[in-house]
């Protein structure tokens, strides 16, 4: 029997990592990618996680997004310890609570932008009309109403990333997790993407967590965490950014 881990109670904390380790095993060699990360993310925060390449940013984001399981430590999403959850419940919970934006967009290539945005809603078993209306609304929101029947291959990188933002918003999640959302884009397009995220944070009250190695992008964030060799070496608040 695994020992019962107490659920966290603080309502303000939406996502919490408690002494989280991730150790990759490659044959006999153990590669510790994260070494005892503890971090509380408040509801409505805009967090940037920075650090050099290989410092463990993506590993951390996968764990925060419940896409991976920690080797040690606990992860609480909305006060729920995710290691206690059944696979199907976690899938639904994650789908409802977190929207993902990936560096490589990760759209399904064989279906249209519209279908891509609608897909999460189908997994969540929304009724058809609601799903259709919501997908159209979101594509309009990211300025792609005209292109909604194009497949990903028929869209530019920036357009694809906007589709993926629309998709991440499909089930109206409280948290948006973005791993280098502008990493594959030129700086102007990248800025547009960041502006959309900023607006979502400011106007819609989403909790935004972005991962970036570009220090210039941290100016959007309220909280900035710096990773080095799998450990958080610095967390600071950005006084210049506030919600007003």
């Amino acid at each position: 029997m695994p020992k019962k881990i107490p659920e966290q109670k603080n309502k303000d904390i939406i996502l919490s990592l408690d002494n989280v380790w991730k150790i990759y095993r490659m044959g006999d060699v153990e590669v510790p990618a994260l070494k005892g990360i503890s971090m509380n993310i408040k509801k409505g925060d805009f967090v940037a996680i920075t650090g050099a390449s290989g410092s463990g940013k993506s590993t951390m984001m996968n764990l925060m997004g419940c896409l991976d399981v920690p080797s040690k430590g606990q992860i609480y999403l909305k006060s729920k310890n995710i290691s206690n959850m059944k696979e199907s419940d976690l899938a639904t919970f994650r789908g409802k609570t977190i929207g993902f934006i990936f560096q490589q967009y990760n759209l399904i290539p064989s279906i249209s932008a519209f279908e891509n945005v609608k897909l999460p809603l189908e997994f969540m078993e929304y009724d058809d009309q609601t799903a259709i209306d919501r997908a159209k609304y979101l594509l309009d929101l990211v300025g792609l109403k005209e292109r909604m029947h194009h497949t990903p291959a028929q869209l530019s990188g920036g357009q694809q990333q906007r589709v993926s933002i629309a998709r991440s918003l499909a089930s109206d999640p409280e948290i948006i997790l973005a791993d280098e959302p502008s990493g594959a884009l030129d700086s102007i397009t990248g800025k547009k993407i960041m502006d959309i995220l900023y607006r979502l944070w400011k106007d819609e009250g989403k909790t935004i967590i972005i991962i970036t190695h570009e220090l210039s992008l941290t100016r959007y964030a309220q909280t900035i965490a710096e990773l080095k060799d799998g450990q958080i070496i610095n967390i600071r608040q950005n006084k210049k950014v506030n919600k007003k």
Partner: protein, 414 residues
């Protein structure tokens, strides 16, 4: 995800599958087409064999006088060796005959439905100056038509009131004489005139007439003795038991033991059994070939599924990241596999029907395939069922593996 949506995404996957998947579908198509074609050949063969051999009458038992212990003994249940169901006991000893008392004895056995008494002889037959000798059988006109396995081609069977009429074999009617014989023609048999009332659908020169007339035509045979007694029994399934019963009763009434037995009981059952055996071994052979073809198709599906799941690994990761449950992934891939099987199956059936059509014209000359090829509904259903279910079974393992992938592992897959 709702099942209908799983269906949508599964069929979308089929539509957008790579060339490789389509090539594997071709494999299934060929497998299914081979099965359909081969089975159509088999069904055609079966049809023509059974139409040629006709109904052998598995419920017909023939009793002949005499018993030769030297003939082939078919040891039946009980292993006494006293029963021979073959018709090879020809060593008729002169003093043994079958007569009225035997018929009386047989009439006491309730398992016997009909009794036909026959005499046989060779007679001189002539028509329009041409003559020859053929075999004549005197039969009981009341029962013969119900007991014989011969079929009438023209005219009618004998009936109870018939006197000077005959039924003749197909060959005697068509080519034996200079001119073909037809219904109501008169022919001369041993200087007596007979009217032809029926022609058999066979290629024999036999003549059948009421037994009362035959006694007058055939020399040296005593009235009320018979060359053979033909019985139709009530229940074919009880053939062995009924034969044993007949044998026991006849031995008692004829005052013989199994050592001095002076009659032979034979049945067509054995010939029929042999034929059925041949048919079922042909069938078995065809099914074996069909099974191998379908197996190849199934392996093709399995291969397609494995590669398609590999190709889709990253998409599985994406789907999981946006809320797909293991169950959803499993469903989508299983439906996908079933659809691949279905598409391959349907195309295969169509190709199979085409193939079987062209095969039919190629082989129409040979004896056993006179029936051509017949594509049976059963073979289509079988082929489709197997191709769909083997698709699903073959898809099960990779689909299960795919569904169990950790989202992050799937996402990292390139």
């Amino acid at each position: 995800m709702k099942l209908s949506k799983c269906f949508k995404h599964a069929s979308n996957m089929v539509v957008h599958s790579r060339l490789r998947s389509w090539l594997t579908i071709v494999g299934i198509v060929i497998g299914v087409a081979a099965v359909i074609a081969i089975m159509s050949l088999g069904t055609g063969m079966q049809e023509s064999i059974s139409s040629q051999l006709g109904d052998l009458g598995g419920d017909i038992v023939t009793i002949t006088p005499g018993f030769s212990s030297g003939t082939k003994m078919i040891g039946m249940r009980g292993g006494t060796g006293s029963k021979s169901y073959t018709s090879t006991a020809q060593a008729v000893e002169e003093e043994t005959t079958l007569d009225r008392t035997d018929v009386q004895t047989l009439k006491t056995i309730p398992e016997i439905e009909l009794i036909d008494t026959n005499i046989k002889g060779t007679v001189e037959v002539s028509y329009l100056g041409k003559s020859g000798s053929v075999s004549l059988t005197g039969v009981d006109p009341k029962v013969w038509s119900k007991i014989t396995t011969s079929k009438i081609k023209e005219g009618r069977m004998l009936d109870a009131s018939d006197q000077n009429v005959v039924i003749i074999g197909g060959l005697l009617a068509s080519t034996y004489f200079d001119r073909p014989l037809g219904i109501n023609k008169m022919i001369t048999i041993e200087e007596n005139s007979f009217r032809i009332v029926g022609i058999l659908d066979d290629s024999s020169t036999n003549i059948y007439m009421p037994i009362t007339m035959a006694y007058q035509i055939i020399d040296d045979i005593d009235t009320d003795t018979y060359d053979s007694i033909v019985l139709k029994i009530e229940d074919e399934d009880l053939l062995d038991e009924t034969i044993t019963k007949i044998e026991t009763r006849l031995m008692i009434s004829r005052h013989v033991t199994s050592n001095t037995k002076d009659f032979t009981i034979s049945s067509n059952k054995q010939i029929q059994d042999t034929r059925d055996e041949t048919m079922s071994s042909i069938n078995l052979f065809l099914i074996a070939i069909a099974a191998v073809s379908l197996l190849v198709g199934a392996i093709g599906i399995a291969n397609t599924m494995f590669t398609s799941v590999l190709e889709k690994t990253k998409e599985i990761g994406i789907m999981k990241a946006i809320g797909a449950k293991n169950k959803d992934i499993l469903r989508i891939f299983i439906i996908n596999a079933g659809l691949i099987g279905l598409i391959g199956g349907i195309l295969g059936v169509m190709l199979g029907i085409l193939l079987s059509g062209s095969m039919s014209s190629m082989i129409s000359g040979t004896v056993f395939t006179r029936g051509g090829t017949i594509v049976s509904i059963e073979s289509i259903i079988l082929a489709l069922t197997v191709s769909i279910s083997s698709g699903i079974v073959a898809g099960l393992i990779p689909a299960y593996q795919a569904s169990r992938l950790h989202p992050v592992d799937a996402l990292k897959y390139e």
